[in-house]
């Protein structure tokens, strides 16, 4: 066994790769349907008016966000953890029956949770809190899934051979802790069946129904502390974990600066949590808190750009790889979108800009250039890197991958440009007054003017989805149609073929 590379066990990683792709398709397809529902309202009754309750915008919208956040992204995080974790800690899951069991349990309970979420959201069972819509029974299941993942993370760390924790592991640990804290506090709720009527009746009403422990302004404060930082610990931190592992591996380049990675990690941890208040500018939360949210959002540029610059400089002297390899293209563009998004966010958090941007489609655009460009591209890149190693086969088609890259990039550009224009137009029209001080436009005027941009956004989303299907096909073909290699490709790049 000496001098032979470890044989890593990818059973659980493969399971989560599968859900990443399936739930990605589900979440993005619903997203495209929603985009067209806004542009062409008749799409709401696409399956006939009898089923309108289940196909209409209001039911599908939380399904879309939750499927993409907790289906696609979270699966991608888990899939990469079960791959990266073993490799950077130099220990195989096959060495521990316990961790293997935890991993599988983690996966299956996660699947049950996903099924419960889909059923409950279609049924209209929701707490209304964005990205935390689930009622208490599902919340409890989610906490159990999360604890299982925690056992897996710290268990693997516990039996590691590598003394020092690689940067990616820092970020996975932070993901685990951050989401745990946010989710628990935001979902504090009391099941209404616990109440007793003066006549002594108990267990009244729907057993799964609950109400928030917090009221009004406090509830909003906790919700956006959660909502903003769910972005931090779901869309930023774990994706940084991925790029810190996959970009150096794929490009054969060492990370540009260890010190910069330290600075940006601890900086991100400290600054991010302050920024949630920028969702509540001009609301009824205290002024000082709004200002803190604004100021810290701008400071947040530093650690965010720190990681992104560290990644881009990792390619120093090797930029020809960007031209040669579509996989490197995905990762470099992901970093670029990360920089773009983390500049755009702070701009929107400036009070005077927020006065126009808040409640408009510009915010939707911001979320999507981040998620499609940064999160989506990085998870796609990670799976492309993993697939040949996990399935012990060469990647099916590099040409298809390159085509996917360009189609999806075009999709993202259409998406965010249309939403920028729509959002700023909307914000300006809402506030416009005529020469006598009366409102210049009715609300309906603003709805009318957005139609072409909504249609364009639908097209952009559709292109991204088409690209995602190409991705799914490429991975499927990699899995199934090429001859199996003798053992895992140790050093070969998937681009080597």
């Amino acid at each position: 066994m000496e001098n032979r590379p470890l044989e890593y066990d990818y059973t659980v990683a493969k399971m989560f790769m599968f859900t990443t792709i399936v739930l990605g398709i589900v979440g993005m397809t619903i997203g495209v349907i929603l985009a067209f529902e806004l542009a062409f309202p008749s799409v709401n009754t696409i399956l006939g008016s009898g089923l309108a309750e289940y196909t209409n915008f209001s039911r599908l919208r939380p399904l879309h966000t939750d499927a993409v956040i907790f289906g696609f992204t979270l699966s991608g995080i888990f899939a990469t953890w079960y791959y990266v974790g073993q490799r950077v800690l130099k220990v195989s899951m096959a060495e521990s029956k316990f961790l293997m069991l935890i991993g599988k349990l983690h996966f299956w309970l996660y699947i049950i949770g996903v099924a419960a979420v889909v059923v409950s959201l279609f049924a209209g069972v929701t707490t209304s809190k964005e990205y935390a819509e689930f009622e208490w029974p599902i919340d409890i299941a989610i906490v159990v899934v999360w604890v299982l993942w925690g056992v897996s993370v710290f268990g693997l760390i516990g039996i590691r051979r590598e003394k020092s924790l690689y940067i990616s592991v820092w970020y996975y640990i932070a993901t685990f802790l951050g989401i745990a804290m946010l989710y628990l506090f935001n979902n504090m709720e009391i099941p209404t069946m616990l109440a007793t009527s003066p006549a002594g009746e108990t267990g009244i009403g729907a057993w799964y129904h609950s109400i928030s422990m917090y009221a009004g302004t406090n509830d909003a404060l906790v919700q956006w502390w959660y909502g903003h930082n769910a972005v931090a610990f779901g869309f930023t931190v774990p994706i940084v974990a991925m790029i810190y592992y996959f970009l150096p591996k794929e490009s054969g380049q060492a990370i540009y600066s260890y010190k910069l990675s330290l600075l940006s990690f601890w900086g991100l941890m400290f600054v991010y949590l302050w920024a949630g208040g920028h969702h509540l500018l001009y609301s009824t939360v205290p002024d000082w808190m709004q200002t803190m949210g604004s100021v810290f959002s701008v400071i947040l540029i530093l650690p965010s750009w720190g990681s992104a610059i560290n990644m881009l400089l990792t390619m120093k002297g090797e930029w020809q790889q960007v031209a040669a390899s579509p996989l490197i293209k995905f990762m470099v563009l992901a970093s670029t979108f990360y920089m773009f998004s983390t500049l755009e966010g702070p701009i929107q958090a400036i009070k005077s800009v927020n006065a126009i941007a808040h409640f408009t489609d510009w915010i939707v655009g911001h979320v999507h250039d981040g998620t499609l460009g940064w999160v989506g591209f990085m998870i796609i890149a990670a799976l492309y890197h993993m697939a040949p190693r996990v399935f012990k086969r060469e990647l099916y088609s590099k040409g298809l991958m390159a085509a996917q890259f360009w189609i999806q990039t075009l999709g993202i550009v259409l998406y965010f440009t249309s939403m920028w224009i729509a959002g700023i137009t909307q914000g300006m029209m809402w506030r416009a007054h005529d020469e006598f001080g009366n409102l210049a436009y009715s609300f309906m005027d603003t709805v009318d003017v957005l139609h072409p941009y909504y249609a364009l956004r639908g097209v952009g989303g559709l292109l991204y989805l088409v690209g995602f299907f190409m991705f799914a096909y490429n991975i499927y073909k990699t899995m199934s149609s090429r001859p199996v290699e003798e053992s895992e490709l140790q050093n070969a790049s998937p681009m080597g073929a």
Partner: protein, 230 residues
């Protein structure tokens, strides 16, 4: 120190947790002491209105409509007085929303009527020709969940001290008491009484018949809730 932390995962995790928890402690805790005092004129929500609020949430109306009027001239011109923290003192959960695909609804009860809502929910284009809102015809047949609304009221009163059955000060100096039922049977009777007042102004014969037969369609509860937003 950082090198040492990287070799000691437990302390590393503790370090991360302390650093991320810090902001929450500073920003959230002080507000909990003072933000929930109701402004004068804020009263608990009635049973039918509560059932309507549940319908509003069930259909994620908050995905497209805000209930938060910002202190800008354009907004106060369009929607009415800007929102005050104390107005939300009994709102569990808050329903501010984050996107205005449609207009703000915080004071919609001041400028829309029962008839308008009825038409709008059945076919939005009948009152707003270029509306992109879908219709909600199933609300005219689905029954509102009065049991759960009653349980919610009880929870609000028992766990959070929402003043049901107690005098609440109003803007004109008078006081109002929002009654809460003593039993489930009484709750249904009260909700039906409230529903009858709404359906008196509605056109849909099936809804009128349902209420006459003792059932309460979701639309009736939703309109009660929307009318209460003032």
């Amino acid at each position: 120190m950082f090198h040492w932390l990287e070799k000691h995962p437990f302390f590393f995790a503790v370090g991360v947790f302390v650093v991320i928890a810090f902001a929450g402690l500073i920003e959230i805790i002080p507000n909990f002491a003072q933000a929930s005092r109701p402004v004068i004129g804020t009263k608990p929500i009635s049973l039918l209105e509560q059932a309507g609020r549940d319908v509003y949430i069930k259909n994620s109306c908050n995905a497209c409509h805000s209930q938060l009027i910002r202190p800008f001239k354009a907004e106060t011109d369009r929607y009415g007085h800007y929102s005050l923290s104390g107005e939300y003192a009994y709102d569990r959960p808050f329903l501010w929303g984050s996107k205005r695909t449609g207009p703000d609804l915080h004071r919609v009860g001041s400028y829309r009527t029962t008839e308008w809502h009825e038409n709008h929910m059945k076919d939005p284009k009948s009152v707003m020709p270029s509306s992109i809102m879908p219709g909600y015809p199933w609300m005219f047949t689905n029954s509102a969940d009065i049991d759960t609304a009653y349980a919610t009221q009880l929870t609000n009163a028992q766990f959070f001290g929402v003043p049901y059955n107690k005098p609440v000060p109003m803007k004109d100096g008078s006081t109002t008491v929002v009654k809460m039922a003593d039993s489930l049977a009484e709750a249904h009777a009260m909700a039906l009484e409230e529903a009858k007042k709404i359906t008196a102004k509605m056109k849909d014969q099936d809804v009128k018949d349902a209420v006459a037969a003792g059932k309460i369609p979701e639309i009736v509860a939703l309109i009660a809730y929307l009318n209460s937003l003032k």
